[in-house]
Amino acid sequence: MTRRKGDGDSGSGLFSVGPFRDKLPGRGRGKPSGGVGWPVAGHADGPGSLVRSGPGAAALDGKLPLFVVHRPYRFHESVPQLLKQLGEDARGKLALGVSSGLPRQTVRAHLKFNSACEASAIRIVDPQGYLADKAHLRVKTLSPRAGRRAPYLRGSDYPVVGILDLQRECGANLLLTAGRALDTSDALGALAAACDEGDQALAALRPGERLALNLTLNAQWLRNPLLRDNLLAELIENRQFAIWHIRVQWPAPARSWVQPVDEELLGGYRVLAETAREHERVLLLPQTGLTGWLALAWGVTGFGTGSYGSNQAFLEESDRRGGKVRSVERYFERQVLHTVERTALSQLAANSAYQKCTCPYCGSLLDGKPWLEEYAGLHHLYGVGMLAAEVAPAAAGRPWSRDVVAGRVREAAQFAAGKLLTGHSDPAHLRTWDRLL
């Protein structure tokens, strides 16, 4: 049998730390280094599927922002060290999490990854039940291999407790319901079924386990006032679900590195987040990238992103088939809150107000050496994570303020003004964000 790179079971080099392994703090000391504030070693939060204390518990209680890194298909070996670095540099202002798609790897690969991500307080192994719902979302056709790994995708009679058990086997400590896509043509029925499944899952939890109600929606659920009202009414009334994990598929022609500017969609996110905050629900928005960061200002507790592609945004599957996709070198530029093409970077850097990134991955990226997609992705994750850490409350138990996000957005808009950023490098979302904040 041939092992594919990135499939998680390959032996050599697993969980290496990239080019800065010797320079990164804590490396080679034989044990994880302690950060300032919260303990870095998230696994100390609780054994197995438990989150009992520390930053993970604080995040699941809505007291600390949660930054979730979606396991990349490629370069996932670098994620543990990235998280460790982020944990140290965020100095207790951020809880870290990892999320992997249950159908996408073997149990062994999940376990290895989750075990290696010591700095991750929250470990999600998402059942991604929506993969079976092509009638409601535009998703890839289910592969036979994914169907074998996640048998619940092949039929509707798989027991709820079985889905929880699979997540436990994979090393998850925040359990999710299946996450089937909700049918807009039967909104009430779909929501009721999701909540019913959630109730069954709650009843099947072991002492101390935490569960998030996992919903997958198309964008109409946030854009359409009636659908949104139905969704929000459930959020308010179902007090038994303290944590909501809501994934929204952004309509075409979105790009993973471009933030949506659809004000109906963003307005829906805002109302959703504000309602969650008002009613003290922990709301997690996976696969939302910088838009998830923006939503922290409105009351979201956590968001997820990845180093590239679909992990940064949950997009409609493209109609295109085949054909070689041109690889474009892109760089997350924190000063404009956007991922710009590398060609635009020199223009930004020429400005006297430009601040060169000092993250562990940028040295190699910015000194003229061959472009490494892996480092660009890690830099992106580091940068977004540090932005999230800025939003943390100044004191324990205090809500985080939208002022931090709004201030960052205004600064970015000012910096971008007059820089002739065009095409996908234009941070057009900043104008929309500024209006909505």
């Binding site: 009430l188 006032p225 949104r228 009202d229 139905n230 929000l232 009414a233 959020l235 308010i236 009334e237 007090r239 109302v271 309602t275 008002e278 009613h279």
Partner: protein, 283 residues
């Protein structure tokens, strides 16, 4: 059969006063009728005899279980269940504490409105009762002035009665829309459109009831007009009548939220109480 109530109104009852007194073993007085039965005062208790529309045993048990979980000074206490035999047939009963004091419908009828301070206390009390019910996953489904007693006659002592199964004096009750039970004039728009009655529907009814108390008239409907369903929804969408001057802004704000046609704006009873407390303290 009919019986004369304390208000002077003549009400139709399923059984005579003598039949009920004999069945319960002591003097009784008629209190009111609902879709599922009649309620009689018997000593310090209010006994509801389930003798109206057939009530499935499972549903009755669910209601009873819900009520037993509620512990609130603003929700009538369920003492127990039982049965009585009248005319050779056994009827189930629910036995509640009797609340001494008039109900809110009578206050409205008499044109007696609360002061600003009493209005806030009344709203707070009703919301507390609803929060306590919703906290144990029990939806009242028929909140209206006739189903709120004032303990000791005080606006600050509202007590929710009848708990989802009653019909008030001379008011319409509909059961045509799925599981909808309640009074049309206090029904939330989503219930009028056939959606299930959930927490948000209770909150809408609280908003309508309290607005009616404060304004002396229904916030959406004119008396004596028989509205179509479409007209009712249109009037709710157009917004309630303005409240009279003199009531605190935060009370108005909470009432505006509660009578919004969008359910999520109504929030929860707990969030409304938090808003009242927060804004009340700031005022």
């Amino acid at each position: 059969m009919s019986v004369k109530k304390a208000t002077g109104k003549v009400q139709r009852t399923r059984f005579t006063e003598a039949e009920v007194a004999a069945a319960l073993g002591g003097p009784v007085s008629y209190l009111g009728s609902g879709a599922f039965g009649d309620t009689w005062r018997h000593g310090d208790t209010a006994v509801k005899i389930i003798c109206g529309q057939p009530l499935p045993a499972e549903r009755l048990q669910r209601e009873v279980d819900g009520l037993r979980r509620v512990s609130s000074p603003h929700v009538v206490r369920l003492i127990g269940t039982g049965s009585v035999t009248i005319r050779g047939q056994e009827w189930q009963t629910l036995v509640f504490q009797y609340i001494d004091g008039d109900d809110v419908a009578k206050r409205i009828e008499a044109g007696r409105q609360p002061s600003a301070a009493d209005a806030e206390a009344f709203l707070n009390g009703v919301l507390t009762g609803v929060a306590d019910m919703h906290g144990v996953k029990t939806v009242h489904r028929d909140i209206k002035p006739a189903n709120i007693a004032l303990r000791g006659g005080e606006w600050s002592g509202p007590v929710l009665l009848d708990l989802g199964m009653a019909r008030g004096d001379g008011e319409d009750t509909i059961t045509a829309y799925g599981t909808a039970v309640g009074t049309v004039m206090y029904m939330a728009p989503e219930v009028l459109q056939g959606q299930p009655q959930r927490d948000a529907a209770d909150l809408f009814a609280v908003g309508v009831t309290v607005r009616e108390v404060l304004g002396g008239r229904h916030p959406f409907y004119d008396p004596g007009v028989n509205y179509t369903l479409t007209q009712r929804i249109a009037r709710i969408d157009a917004g309630p009548r303005p409240l009279p001057a003199g009531f605190p802004d935060h009370v108005k704000e909470v009432l505006d939220r509660l009578t919004d046609s969008r359910r999520y704006i109504r929030g929860s009873a707990s969030s409304s109480l938090r808003l009242l407390a927060r804004e009340g303290a700031a005022a």
